[in-house]
């Protein structure tokens, strides 16, 4: 073998991995309510009373099956937020996700767990923890998470 220097190579490949994720019966119900009635539903633990959104079958803390759906308000408090400035590949679309965008953890009235969604506002100076926010629904709803376009800041005062 000669002592020739070989370049360090990488080989690029894109792996295609298609999936059909099941939403289950509980998740499907939330989608239907979003699409047809512009309503958010959660689910209540029969043991500890905790109301979860999105709805799912099991309360992890109590390890019991939940089957009492609870209507959740479209309004809530902004518990935390961030504005994302760095650009990255969105694995769901294969494209760069547009930035900047704001999203937050929202405690909807009537729910005990948080709910993640986009915020209409992405100007940091206008966002504060504890603000009241409200879901804005898309006119053309297809039974999708994005039937809620985003949450907008309302003029309401935080009751707490």
């Amino acid at each position: 073998m000669s002592k020739q220097k070989y370049p360090l190579l990488t080989i690029s490949s894109e792996i295609e991995q298609p999936y059909n994720y099941s939403l289950g019966r509980y998740g499907g119900r939330l989608l239907k309510e979003l699409k047809h009635n512009k309503k958010i539903v959660g689910i209540k633990c029969p043991k500890c009373g905790h109301v979860y959104v999105p709805p799912r079958q099991v309360c992890g803390k109590c390890f019991v099956k939940m089957d009492e759906f609870a209507e959740i308000s479209n309004k809530g408090n902004l518990e935390s937020f961030t504005v994302v400035y760095f650009s990255f590949l969105d694995p769901e679309t294969g494209q760069k996700r547009p930035v900047p965008y704001g999203y937050g953890r929202i405690k909807l009235d009537g729910a005990d767990s948080g709910f993640l969604h986009f915020l209409e506002e992405s100007d940091l100076k206008k966002l504060k923890i504890g603000m009241r926010v409200e879901a804005v629904f898309d006119e053309n709803r297809t039974g999708n998470f994005k039937d809620i376009k985003y949450f907008k800041i309302t003029k309401e005062r935080n009751p707490s």
């Binding site: 991995q17 099941s22 079958q57 309360c59």
Partner: protein, 379 residues
């Protein structure tokens, strides 16, 4: 080894597409069944091992999806990525350490949600092998070809495995594909990847399985018929298919030897009453039977022809219908353990092997059985 017992098992029915159920729904179903089976509550479980795979689930940190449903809130918990027999083995280790009294092991998979081809293609070397289009079926076809050519195993001998196991499945309420077919039906079924035909091959399946392991004290306190772990062994072979003689189950031989040594088994064919082994394809039941020492090397074909591995034979293999009748990847090995537990408790109903006292469960990992895990259980 300290005495550890299986005190509860739970399985879903295995189906082609459980569209209405999430991973968490499946896991909750089998964990609840296993707890009921053991007659204990989630509070009696003090640590949990979940089994999942990020490729099969289409999710990084796939175990996140089942945290609520596996009952691990407030408990020590970990995740094995591999066949369920390996998950159960980690659960066993955690018990043997003396830190816990009971371990819940749960595995789930939904073959319906992803693409078997793309997911198993990702097992192969990204630079040299993937481009050929290798996947679980086409790589196994290479192994089937090599094995049958080397030892003169016939197409019909392979077909007999399909006939036997699909018929056994008629007696298993959890089985996905149960049918009474002839060897001709198998040989005339659609070619998938020569020499593997449709009925030589396991199906795409959805399902979950859970087992509960307990230390001797707890097992004696709560279980009416505990099934004891007598021996376990696991081992891995080379990765590159070209580095292995695919007709030689070297890793399985080592894993089995270790399990037999621990269990004090010298003549497995005589001493084992029932076996559930990982027959993802018909030839695998024959090849793995050789590796497990049920017959001499190259005699797997003769073994199935003898009829001794059918119900009523000397060593019935896969009374449940085996993996050919339901193949939820990762779950399948754990289901083998669950089925042997059922056998040793004499609760197998139509699939019960009379008087079974010692049973063997087996799982595989990687392409063409690169790694194996062998369990010897006793009632």
């Amino acid at each position: 080894m300290e005495r550890v017992a299986i005190i509860g098992v739970g399985q879903t029915k295995y189906e082609r597409n459980k569209k209405g159920e999430t991973f968490a729904d499946l896991v909750f179903e089998v964990v609840t069944k296993a707890l009921d089976d053991a007659g204990i509550a989630i509070e009696d479980i003090d640590n949990v091992v979940t089994v999942s795979n990020d490729f099969w689930d289409g999710r990084t940190i796939s175990s996140m999806a089942v945290t609520d449903a596996c009952g691990s809130y407030g408990k020590s918990v970990s995740t094995v990525e591999g066949d369920g027999t390996f998950g159960a083995l980690y659960g066993l280790m955690r018990l043997l350490s003396g830190s816990f009294r009971s371990t819940l092991v749960v595995s789930h998979c939904k073959g319906s949600e992803g693409s078997n081809h793309f997911i198993t293609n990702a097992i192969f070397n990204p630079i040299y092998e993937r481009i050929i289009g290798l996947d679980s079926i086409s790589s196994s076809a290479l192994q089937a070809r090599r094995y049958t050519e080397k030892y003169g195993i016939t197409e019909e001998q392979c077909a007999l495995v399909s006939v036997k196991n699909h018929k056994n499945a008629l007696n298993n309420p959890f089985a996905q594909i149960a049918m009474d077919i002839s060897a001709e039906d198998v040989m005339n079924s659609r070619m998938l990847s020569e020499p593997i035909k449709l009925f030589d091959s396991s199906p795409i399946s959805d399902g979950a399985c859970a087992i509960i392991l307990a230390d001797e004290r707890m097992a004696k306190r709560v279980a009416t018929s505990p099934v004891w772990v007598k021996g376990i062994g696991h081992s891995a072979d080379a990765y590159n298919l070209g580095d292995r003689d695919l007709a030689e189950p070297a890793a399985l031989i080592r894993a089995a030897q270790k399990a037999y040594n621990m269990a004090g088994i010298k003549e497995p064919y005589k001493e084992i009453d029932v076996a559930e082994i990982y027959d993802a394809f018909t030839y695998q039941e024959l090849l793995w039977s050789e590796g497990l020492g049920f017959c001499e090397r190259g005699k797997g074909g003769k073994l199935i022809e003898s009829g001794e591995t059918t119900m009523g034979g000397k060593l019935p293999i896969n009374p449940s219908g085996g993996v050919l009748s339901a193949h939820p990847v990762l779950v399948a090995g754990l289901a083998r353990i669950a089925e042997i537990t059922i056998q040793l408790r004499e609760e197998g109903n139509g699939r019960q092997v009379d008087g079974a006292k010692t049973g063997l469960a087996h799982g595989i990992n990687g392409a063409c059985g690169q790694a194996h895990c062998v369990w010897v259980l006793e009632n």
